[in-house]
Symmetry: C2
Subunit: 375 residues, 2 copies
DNA sequence: ATTATTTACGCAAACGATTGTGAAACGCTA
DNA sequence: TAGCGTTTCACAATCGTTTGCGTAAATAAT
């Protein structure tokens, strides 16, 4: 008996999903024709194409992506690894990625590393086993080296980092210009007349926190102010962390007149503590934060914050991935996309009567995306 | 020449990923042995097993899930469709699902319907094409019928709804007991001495909003209070919606002394409007909301709210899926899992001096999960 | 009229794993 | 030693799709 594959003869038992073989049998043509007709191959006559398409709709044919991916060696699956899916930032980035990806015919499978390298490693294995077409990752807080990512490169799977990454520039990445964000926020505070500006910093081994801090320092320096180490506190970016840190600052012989926090939650903590001590924001202490979380609009007064352009980051990460796919010939050209942050000025930092500084925002908008290609 | 599959002879060109055939050639055994050794089949000798495992580690063998899935007809992929990934609720549910799923060896691919039926339909097709083992979905706001879900059943793919679903009980679903949530919140307001309690309701064609409203009504009735239709406003569950609705309520000849909102954002809007009018919360108007969003702890006073047990819902949804997989023989038994909500009492509704009502919470905790099996 | 060229399609081998069937090789009893 | 069961493994088909190559007919070029 002839093999079903090449000359399908046996009828398809009802109930089982309809395959190309069924279409082929029904139309009396070969599977080759079906496959080519469905993918709009040039060597198939228009009449045949129509017939195939029509029958496919009629029988409600659903292509089996697995089989196709197996044969072609490349799937339409995209792996995404984030520390956690909750929280505005990563959720928004994933939103951006998924939106762009699905538009391009990709499905995204998400993994959470839970800020744990071991999980991250396992996630990578899983994704590679699933034969994903590419991997987008924001490294966990406990990731200290890139060794487990080597395997991905070895497999020839495009790898894109976003937001969080380690030093070493032989990687593709899309990041926020955290330095500019820190600089903008600090400059704004300076412009409001603040002179003793404190900083809540995050773990310094992550690029994002290091850069925010550096932006803060550079803004001070370029305004002729010498940084005061006692005003810089490396703490958890949580409400509690902010409360404790603010308390420590107030205990200083010469307390600050402003705080730039590397995260909004810590900033909220600072706000709460200040209020509980009867201090006024922004008159006594002005506040500026980072991330532009939803809470900035709920707190009273509303909190000034640097927006991270989450969705744009997701889109950019996906776009970078597609560029890598297309440029598969050129082996060693890594690209970095740098997004420009946007400062949202709100009541927590506005000492003058102006309720918003439009120039700051519009200027930032003009610089939204700048791209640096590197060898 | 012998086929490579059954008696692999040709060496594996370096660089290409190592497959079972490579292991087989290296050890001089058949692929059958490799496959069975890796899956710990009983018919493989312990010595052989060890050797295979060892070589697999050494050559860094990565199984190809796609191939396995193709052959077995079932993949280890799980499809999840949500209206959108942003926002605390769905992000948390997805978190719960992913955590449970990855523990069980499943990868989850997420899709966003963007509250659009057309997208939802396309998402379903995509997932079916990807040969997922099951689909977990929270329907979009614009989904009015179940027709596109029939196809999923036809394919024999387990289907589980969570949170949002349409009427018709021939489906598997895990939902929150929204009625109980509405009841609890309203009863609490009554216990605080409120008598004219208004309600911000959502679209009534979604089960969740309908049930919350009914719980509100039943609580009033069981306390001998006749519902006043003018106090029930069906509005957008947004900050603006809450502001407008609150304004309308205050314009009433006899304004309410409390509001139970079907969502926290609208509740925040109400709070803002009340403050701007110089009214005190909870003394003049007490507030209770739904969802226990992060903003409830940022607003001043903190907002009382009903927690939706997001993570538990995700876990439960996945568990229900696995149960469906195991019980594949029994065709027509659909199951519903009903989670009990938990009321978090906070300052926005506390008129007495007590800062929290522990009995309410502990009582709710005891009822955390109750399960109803149905035919 | 003969040779190129294009158009339209079929053949069969992949992709990498799983699995029912079958068959050696072994130890054991009778 | 013949008979029987157990252990251990190989054969080959199969999942549904893609694709290089071959080929026949139709059209164009010489």
């Amino acid at each position: 008996m002839a093999s079903r594959r090449t000359s399908p003869k046996e009828p398809n038992p009802a109930g089982s999903p309809v395959s190309m073989a069924d279409l082929a049998r029904e139309l009396g043509v070969s599977m080759t024709t079906i496959s080519r007709a469905l993918s709009d191959h040039h060597s198939i006559g228009p009449a045949t194409k129509q017939a195939v398409l029509k029958l496919a709709k009629k029988l409600n044919y659903q292509p089996n992506h697995l089989a196709a991916a197996l044969r072609k060696g490349k799937s339409k699956l995209l792996g995404v690894i984030v520390p956690y899916i909750e929280g505005r930032f990563f959720a928004s980035v994933v939103h951006g990625i998924e939106t762009a990806a699905s538009k391009a015919g990709y499905s995204v499978i998400i993994c959470q590393s839970s800020e744990d390298v071991a999980h991250e490693r396992k996630n990578l294995e899983t994704l590679l086993s699933a034969q994903v077409a590419g991997i987008l990752v924001s490294v966990s807080r406990t990731t200290m080296d890139f060794r487990h990512f080597e395997k991905v490169k070895k497999h020839g799977v495009p790898l894109v980092f976003f937001d969080r990454m380690l030093d070493g520039d032989d990687v593709n990445a899309v990041v926020l210009n955290d330095h500019a964000g820190g600089y903008q926020a600090t400059r704004h505070l300076l412009e409001q007349g603040c002179r003793r500006i404190a900083h809540f910093a995050g773990t310094q081994h992550l690029n994002i926190y290091k850069n925010r801090r550096q932006g803060y320092l550079d803004a001070l320096l370029s305004h002729g102010i010498a940084p005061d180490e006692s005003l810089i506190i490396e703490c958890d970016m949580t409400v509690e962390g902010g409360q404790e840190s603010m308390a420590r600052l107030l205990a200083l012989p010469q307390p600050p007149d402003a705080v730039f926090s590397a995260g909004d939650s810590a900033n909220l903590g600072a706000l709460q503590l200040l209020k509980s001590r009867g201090l006024r924001v922004p008159q006594d202490v002005a506040l500026a934060g980072f991330s532009n979380e939803a809470l900035t609009l709920v707190a009273e007064p509303n909190l000034t914050s640097v927006d991270q352009r989450c969705e744009e980051m997701g889109q950019a990460a996906f776009r970078l991935f597609t560029e890598l796919v297309e440029a598969e010939g050129t082996p060693f050209s890594q690209r970095q996309v740098v997004l420009q942050p946007q400062l949202f000025v709100r009541a927590s930092s506005l000492r003058s009567g102006i309720d918003e500084s439009p120039e700051t925002n519009s200027a930032a908008k003009k610089l939204q995306r700048s791209r640096v290609h590197h060898t």
